[in-house]
Subunit: 346 residues, 2 copies
Amino acid sequence: MSEAITLAVDCMGGDHGPRVTVAAALEFLAASPDASVVLVGQGDAIDVQLRRRKAQGRERLRVRHTTEVIAMDEPPAQALRSKKDSSMRVAVDLVKEGSAHACVSAGNTGALMAISRFVLKTLPGIDRPAIVSVLPTVKGSTYVLDLGANVDCTPEHLLQFGLMGAALVAAVEHKDRPTVGLLNIGSEDIKGNEIVKQAADLLRESGLNFIGNVEGDGVYKGAADVVVCDGFVGNVALKTSEGLAQMLARFLREEFTRNVFTRLAALIAWPVIARFRRRVDPRRYNGATLLGLRGIVVKSHGSADRYAFRRALERAADEVRAEALARIAARFGSVATGAAGTEATA
Amino acid sequence: MSEAITLAVDCMGGDHGPRVTVAAALEFLAASPDASVVLVGQGDAIDVQLRRRKAQGRERLRVRHTTEVIAMDEPPAQALRSKKDSSMRVAVDLVKEGSAHACVSAGNTGALMAISRFVLKTLPGIDRPAIVSVLPTVKGSTYVLDLGANVDCTPEHLLQFGLMGAALVAAVEHKDRPTVGLLNIGSEDIKGNEIVKQAADLLRESGLNFIGNVEGDGVYKGAADVVVCDGFVGNVALKTSEGLAQMLARFLREEFTRNVFTRLAALIAWPVIARFRRRVDPRRYNGATLLGLRGIVVKSHGSADRYAFRRALERAADEVRAEALARIAARFGSVATGAAGTEATA
């Protein structure tokens, strides 16, 4: 790897495949002189996109042909067992063998987690990887984990999520001692189920900057830099938010297109609304990291468009630049091994 | 009870007390000729509000003086044990003794649940009461339960929530076979933790119109008339939604007040935005029912203003009119007992 950052891009994943992934990768490359990409997927399909964009033979760009594709609804175990030459699998393999610092896929989440765990293994001291994503808040942004990898968590798992999340935020957001909160149904210590209460005890003694319980509304109030929860709760909270945001956007659109007068109002208010929309555009926050692995793996939303997928690529690159992996490993008292490993700097 | 509906109103609960609760009760009375109210709380404080509104001696209105008040942060067990003459306790007692069909409080949720459970008891066949609230969806509205009463639920509890919720929707929304969904992290049957999977089996065999799993975004898409979840998940989803809505409202306001041009745009777009706001106004949906008790108890948001509290009163009245209690009891193979009991009509 001559460039500072090499990303392996699963070009076949997601709802749109190479049309979106290849285009996004080219935009990313143009904006990131320190990066190179390996486009992984069916060579013909990728070539069509490269030709269309006159990008064949472009610098810092390689194509790695694969023959198989993992379907969005394919059982993870089957994908892991039988699709050794799938674009997703090979992208992860490239990280493992040291040909890429990170990989990005918009494919099947369960399959990506299963393959990443099998190929890369977890970092020492980490039982289970977690899915972490950034959400906007009134104060800036917050990192929430787990978002769906682990439906049943022990207090120890929640503690590990806190440690990993804090290390990631320290690395990527340059915050020395990020605040960590525990998602709960009340702010008092006595609230919640037994697992959450025990997790609070562990977090309190962890040396983290633990601020206690955070309620659901605290997430968007920016109550903590890192919000810890089990994957069931986190996934429901994230998707409920998506659903609400879509509903509100739809209602706003309906009101502004109701008749000729409201359409006129929309025309005049358009610059303001456009600004508002940019500010809360979920595509900006696309790219969830599979945290706790011996390698950086970023999952893009399956429905990601070019802009959204590019954001996921940028997230992966940011984590490589920030040496996030080494910092997380250091937090657990060891140094990351494997290709993407760098010196512990935490 | 000569009128069709008598509501006991805890006037001391909530962030604003009698100033809001008494005013809302008077508005409710004026709009509901079939209803009467008992204002429960400190006589002087209530009288001040009645005098201010020239409502002393008004028809269909009584005052029941109480000496104690339960604080918003008071431990429920303590409130239950030691505050026998609190406005909340007496309001629930009035339901128990048959002097009111339902009670409404904006006070301490935990205390209201503890007192209601102790005084009224649960309906036969129901292990635990649940908190249910109505949320807007792109198709209309949906009932979600539990929203925080039960942090640990067995599959049987979730089944009971489904049965109760469906009976409530059948009664209040006049839907014959409301659809019931199970909140989960994927639409496939294999998703979720063991409890949710077992709950799905029970719901499938229950005779309910069970449509399977509903993901977080399905709530606001109106995927089901009733969405069932444990109280931890439901509470987080509800409060996360509140937080997101507040953040979006704030960002929209910030964009429209950025400078003189955006303020002008706001002026022109104002009627449209006002219509949008009315449509998603959370105050319209205020009033969560404590479901599964031998009496109707409605919890208002603590921060409710006059309009919001009035909506909670209207919700209680609607449930009395719809004979919701008897219908729920009938669903569990028995008839509601106690004062508010009516004949089973389901």
